[in-house]
Subunit: 348 residues, 2 copies
Amino acid sequence: MKTGRPATSDVFRARTMAEIAEIAGVAESTVSRAIAGSNRVSAETKERILRLIDESGYRINSRARSLRTQETRTIEVVIAISETNRQHFSDPFFSQIIASIGDSLAENGYDLLLSRAHPWGEGALADTLAVKRADGVIVIGQGRNPEALNRYAERHPNVIVWGARIPGRNYAVVGSDNALGGALAGKHLIKSGRRRLVFLGDVNHVEVGLRHLGLVSSLTGTGVTSDQTLMLSMPFDSASAYETTRRLFEGGARHDAIFAASDLMAIAAIRALSDLGVRVPEDVAVIGYDDIALAEYVTPGLTTVRQDTAAGGRALVESVLSVLGGRAPTDVTLPTELVVRQSCGARK
Amino acid sequence: MKTGRPATSDVFRARTMAEIAEIAGVAESTVSRAIAGSNRVSAETKERILRLIDESGYRINSRARSLRTQETRTIEVVIAISETNRQHFSDPFFSQIIASIGDSLAENGYDLLLSRAHPWGEGALADTLAVKRADGVIVIGQGRNPEALNRYAERHPNVIVWGARIPGRNYAVVGSDNALGGALAGKHLIKSGRRRLVFLGDVNHVEVGLRHLGLVSSLTGTGVTSDQTLMLSMPFDSASAYETTRRLFEGGARHDAIFAASDLMAIAAIRALSDLGVRVPEDVAVIGYDDIALAEYVTPGLTTVRQDTAAGGRALVESVLSVLGGRAPTDVTLPTELVVRQSCGARK
DNA sequence: TCGGGAATGGCAACCGATTGCGCAAGCCGA
DNA sequence: TCGGCTTGCGCAATCGGTTGCCATTCCCGA
């Protein structure tokens, strides 16, 4: 251990409830009731015990308590990272929604256990870790393997998922309207005179697939055929978006708009264009998805489909706590809107 | 609860070790030893028990285990957000380092409990939450109130901090060399012909203060006096950086370089300049701090002082686990280097 | 003075695992 | 055949709280 640490103060420091009880001259059960605020302890006894607890720096042992009460007051949050790309988590979208979840949980007196591995993945280890550590689970993203998630949710009742309302699922979801988001982006691009669109994103990913679908559907009746629209499937990260975009336009592509599945990808795409001397938005318009905090401050400002992470986090927590309370969770679809900034301004 | 869920399969599902023991026809203790891999259980008994566990879907109860073993196998990670700006957490720097910490902990079989409130803050509640939930604590950032953190660490031995080696502290730190980082930025700016520097960041924040100090010290002997250098103190977020930069240059400032305390701030500053028609790097060079994943992909690419979050996370975990193992933690200073990209290329 | 009931507090079982210690069976050599 | 040693397994205590139920005290009216 470290040296040179000052001697700890010599006041009484209690480790267990029994010690408190001993000093206070009451039974453990009375201490427990005093803490719980039971009305079966007189006001003065209660006050005396609480003061003693405060002075002695005693803190309740949460494991012992939760062993007895059968609740952990902990919610596990799982990021559905893909096996191939663990860095996915560094997307600010995740930190924003986790921050919101963390705040809501704290307000309700719950802890937040963060997992990066899928507990529904293969292998007993993953499953072992997932059980009995938390009262409920919030999963961020349905990922590329919604069936596995579904099987997991079937066996574990207290699961709420950030994602899309896909049919046949065994869990409640909170999320934006991905198809609408895609359609909003598509309409806006068409309206600003774009004709040859590129979609950047992994359509095998449930939510991304819906965004693509929305984009394509918004094209009907506009005179733009979907075979003018290029769909480039790629993982969820900046490097792939940069490389793909760069290769596409180095090849002399004549596309005039990009819709990316995330802001991170959109920002990287803009950079690829810029490196090639292609102007944004004059030559190519770019729209992202998420509206991360940074979207407003990159150069040029990023037009994007907003997912309200603050509201999303709150809704997820509300949902999971209502399941714990025995109530049925309801699906929540958050308002989904396009935020127009420079990267997709009108053609000059 | 939800309706329409398929009936759960009718295989035997064990909830407790006692049930396993009963079915296997052995004592609970034998089951426990079989799981722990004790050599006091014969190979065939062990195999029989493990197979039964696997088939029955039994998962050990981590609270009961940790109550008995007196260890939680959980590490708490605390983000030193400021009271005034809770959104601070959305900085990708934090998510990157948390991702790395999470991976290292998982490799070592530890869970990650995420806290956003300072457990060393005022109020018994905050303290209550902090105790006995985890075996150790990793604090990200010393923040603006290192004394409070110090007092906290005095009472809680198993604390490791991401931050700077300030004197008198009661904890071990892992971090970059902030003064060196500041100096590297300063030297590079001078070398590329810049003379009138601006520093953006809250110097009351321990690490930021050191970065500023490093910048100023690198100026000696260069002919640039420190009173040519402007220090603008501001919180740690994009909006403030944008506003401050914009106001400064709207006022017709003749500064030719900005060094920001974080990449997020640098990116926002670039945007403010761009909105005013100031060219980066031709008119003003910009250097950030952190080298977040996005720094490489923004437009223009961000020159920045790299903090290796992957190595940092690993070192933090190694340190806290070594304290738990009874060994003394050692301070770790990570390699600190400047990554030059377009935002501070040579003057054209 | 005595019985009844409200108010307060204590006893002990319990949550689900881990582990020191003791016991029984099997094996060996003498 | 017998004692001693090794190996495998079970008993029961234990971790630190919570809570049903019973015991005690006190106050009051009859």
